[in-house]
Point group: C2
Chain length 151, copies 2
Amino acid sequence: MVMENPHQTNVVKGALHERGLRMTPQRISILSLFHNSSSGDHLSADDVHQRLTQNETPMSLSTVYRTLHLMSQMGVLRELELAEDHKHYELNPRSDESHHHLVCIRCTKTIEFKSETMQKVGEKVAKGSGFALLDCQLVIHALCPVCQRSM
Amino acid sequence: MVMENPHQTNVVKGALHERGLRMTPQRISILSLFHNSSSGDHLSADDVHQRLTQNETPMSLSTVYRTLHLMSQMGVLRELELAEDHKHYELNPRSDESHHHLVCIRCTKTIEFKSETMQKVGEKVAKGSGFALLDCQLVIHALCPVCQRSM
DNA sequence: TACCAATTGCAAATAATTCTCAGGTATCCG
DNA sequence: CGGATACCTGAGAATTATTTGCAATTGGTA
Ligand SMILES: [Mn+2]
Ligand SMILES: [Mn+2]
Ligand SMILES: [Zn+2]
Ligand SMILES: [Zn+2]
């Protein structure tokens, strides 16, 4: 069940080395998990932890948190703050496949959508201020049709 | 020091009544605080609590949390998830003055910028799925020039 | 003015995330 | 090949933002 993505793994390994960090079995397992998830899977730290356990690659929840944080800092993962009380993660999409989220603040139903302009705006704004872009996300908070009725 | 904004206050009062809720002194104080803040002031629950105390309108921190949450649900305030471990709030800007945030994930330096297209995209996407728009925010995570050097 | 649901303050509870630290392990060097 | 060093992990405790339960209070209305 654990299928690796050698290319991406090596790219990350290189980035880790540049910082004096290492590619460990735990980090490989977490990256594989995300590579094998379908788009639209937004995983919490706990989700990741549970799936790893099912996948025969259990590890400490602390390590999961540490890895998710590190990978987000490196721009490999993307941290989503949707309408829940905890963070969710997904692979940080390549600029040509970037997508964004429309989320109901009441039932947390989430819809992904694409928009090329967004990424361009992000790149332009970041460059304009001399910032190095890591992730650019539009979040639309709204009420879904169902929740609009039940108010 | 506490100057009210009668118009906006009445609008909110009406919206509260529609839900069977009340306009209390505490809610008025919190709204006034935001109306008297300058753009770019992103206040945490604790910031709000401290400023209210200075303003001679102290109240319980629970009430602050409850009010910030309620006002966000109503679309009066806007909840910001920037690069810190707690939420920040600001007045939810009218559609014609909407703005967005570029934030350094390392030092949390935050820059506001405008972009008309963004709001339009948000409105279009929400409508396209039958959602009722509350808030639409682009967050760009990046590294500021200073932090890029110190790595 | 009396009533009643909404609201508040306080303290306790919750839950996500981080920290501490001791025991591994990869990597580098002589 | 060892040994030194720095990185990494697991386990659990600690931290901290936020929520909740409850009794007392209050706003808005009849
Ligand atoms: Mn997504
Ligand atoms: Mn702002
Ligand atoms: Zn909904
Ligand atoms: Zn910075």
